[in-house]
Amino acid sequence: MMVDSPDRPEPLTGDRNLETEEFVVNMGPQHPSTHGVCRLILTMDGEVIKKVVPDIGFLHRSIEKIAENRTYHQFMIYTDRIDYVSSMNANHAWCVAVEKLAGIEVPERAEYLRVIMAELNRIASHLVFLASFAIDLGAVTPFLYAFRERERIVDLFEMTCGQRLTYNYMRIGGVSKDVPKDFVSETKKFCSYLYPRVDEYEAILTENPIFLGRTKGIGLLDLPTAINYSVSGPPLRGSGLKWDIRKDEPYSAYEKFDFDIPTGENGDTWDRYKVRIEEMRQSARIVEQALEGLPEGGIKAKVPARFRPPQGEAFARIEAPRGEMAYFIVSDGSTKPYRVKIRTASFCNLQALPVMARGWKIADIVAIFGSLDIILPEVDR
């Protein structure tokens, strides 16, 4: 097959050695398994990955700059858009940080409602993880099952706050609306519905030999590296550290609930998957406890519309589904923050991808990337 193409290399002749050549594959920005707009520049030797360079910034909206231009109340809706898969948690982090800054006491009912919503959102987020992780490995059906359950959570949210994705539910000093009448019974029903469903996912995936082959021992991340890379959340717990901000630095009402912190042993892809599966059960437990002990009372502290926190700085972090989400706020006493630094979990977790992926096959990088559960808007902000 001779085709007259000028840039075709010379045919190899006898006196030249047959050399193999590394080649560069651009995985993304548009690729089925980059979960958004992320570009991974892979240097490959055949199927084996020699080097990964993540290229981010395609979704950069400069939310930190926008924050300097919005009041504290207004910025709430932008926190939704930092991490749209778990925007309740992003709301929560902003509220916790601003309340820390201004020293606002939040009514107990509001704290309980926040915990319920944050944990439901954690379940929803982990369901999205499960769905996309399964599809990354080629199993399409669990995707639909996971979204079926997520739909019920989203219905609960819509019932409460009116939106299905960018909830904008929490307010500085409380929450925006009290839950509707049948929310408590519906949520209890959902929790008891969830446990058998999680068992179902496990039946399809967890011990499946093909799934084990694709995840066990793949993408190892040892604990010192994880800590040094500031990896947080399920990847950190998957590497074996029993660390959860909800337990270790409790915020809201988390100290009142009884739950376990699941951890992995080897820090491989399977461990990270298993930690998240287990966390769904624990979150359902927290929700059940919170519903049981939901106190009566107000849902919002008095915060003026023209809210001016005192001059100062605040650093607050919470345990979002993907890991640690922190806000560093500098206030100059006006209605707008002077500087907001948003630390998101995906940003740091993605940074550890090159270490984890080196030496594995191209199919594995999909699994490893999926197991980190990266949300790209959270990386780029």
Binding site: H31, A139, V140, T141, L144, I210, G213, R214
Partner: protein
């Protein structure tokens, strides 16, 4: 009653009454080819629709509903849409090879049906090396996939093409070996003889004497036609679409339909060799025409393949190779040795 054999011979006699012998030869060849290809095209369209409906049902969805009752005409509409699409050839592609790859893929998938016994007496040509011919001709697919992967001049395509070459050639070995057991039992390579050897009740089917062979065959065949969990050549999450990433319009449709026809081919082989072909499971059920049995058994196996696809994750390329060479191949050899030993013992 509804046996098609009579109809075909009647048509043949009718044609012979006014056509001379050489002309009859040509006309009958064209007619038979037309009938087989037409049947397979309809079958492929049906399989695409069925897969979509079945996957929807597994996933608590509905699937196509708009075109025709329960969307049965959906694939026809899709095919018509693909026919109208612009035929895009990448600038840097190897144009000739790029063109011929889908054609070869599409043509070879029909060739296997020359000696496929659809029913009692319903076979285009009963070659005495039938099964050998089928195994040989189905391997042609790999050439077309490799051509497609190479000619697209795309890194993902190339990876897909290389993967498919490695995979299909590797799985060809355990596939052929697993068929040998049935061939040894039938003492023949002819498809018709193999089917006739399984006559009587369903207890005479070779699956009872070749359970391991059957399992090995189904596994290897799944890999042979690039279905999940062995669909790494077109692994969507890694290679986007593998070898057919640059193909669009009718060329893509050819690959797509060929994939489904290939899937039916391997299932039909399994039905013929292990499930008694067109033989009914019980003597008293023989009033149902033989081709219904053949189709039913083949489609049942197709269902199992689809069931696999919508349940399992995908293997990795090195695991796939290891599975073929380290697991399937020794078992296939073991199967042959045990079969041979038992045949020697009981006869």
């Amino acid at each position: 009653m509804f046996e098609l054999e009579g109809i075909f011979s009647a048509v043949g006699d009718f044609l012979a009454s006014f056509l001379g012998a050489p002309l009859l030869q040509i006309v009958s060849i064209i007619a038979v080819a037309g009938v087989v290809i037409g049947f397979l095209m309809v079958l492929a369209l049906f399989l695409v629709w069925w897969e979509r409906k079945l996957s929807a049902d597994f996933q608590v969805r509905i699937g196509p509903m708009r075109t025709g009752p329960h969307g049965v005409l959906q694939t026809i509409a899709d095919a018509l849409k693909l026919l109208q699409k612009e035929d895009i050839v990448p600038l840097t592609a190897d144009k000739k090879v790029f063109f011929w790859a889908p054609v070869i893929c599409f043509v070879t998938c029909f060739l296997a049906y020359i000696c496929m016994p659809f029913g009692k007496g319903l076979i285009v040509r009963d070659l005495n090396i039938g099964i050998l011919y089928i195994v040989a001709i189905t391997t042609f697919t790999v050439i077309s996939l490799l051509m497609a992967g190479w000619a697209s001049n795309n890194k993902y395509s190339l990876l897909g093409g290389m993967r498919s070459a490695a995979q299909i050639i590797s799985y060809e070995v355990p596939l052929s070996l697993s068929l040998l057991g049935a061939v040894m039992l039938a003492q023949s390579l002819s498809m018709v003889t193999i089917v006739q050897g399984q006559g009587g009740s369903f207890l005479h089917w070779y699956i009872w004497r070749q359970p391991l062979g059957f399992l090995l065959y189904v596994t290897a065949a799944t890999a042979e036609v690039n279905r999940t969990p062995f669909d790494i050549p077109e692994a969507e999450q890694e290679l986007v679409a593998g070898y057919n990433i640059e193909y669009s319009g009718m060329k893509f449709a050819m690959f797509f339909l060929a994939e489904f026809i290939n899937m039916f081919t391997v299932c039909a082989i399994a039905a013929t060799l292990f499930l008694g072909g067109w033989n009914p499971p019980f003597e008293f059920l023989s009033f149902i025409p033989s081709w219904v049995w053949f189709l039913g058994k083949s489609l049942f196996l197709v269902f199992i393949l689809m069931w696999f696809r919508w349940t399992y994750p995908r293997l990795r390329v090195d695991q796939l190779m290891a599975f073929a060479w380290k697991f399937l191949l020794p078992l296939a050899f073991l199967n042959i040795i045990v079969t041979g030993f038992l045949i020697y013992l009981f006869e």
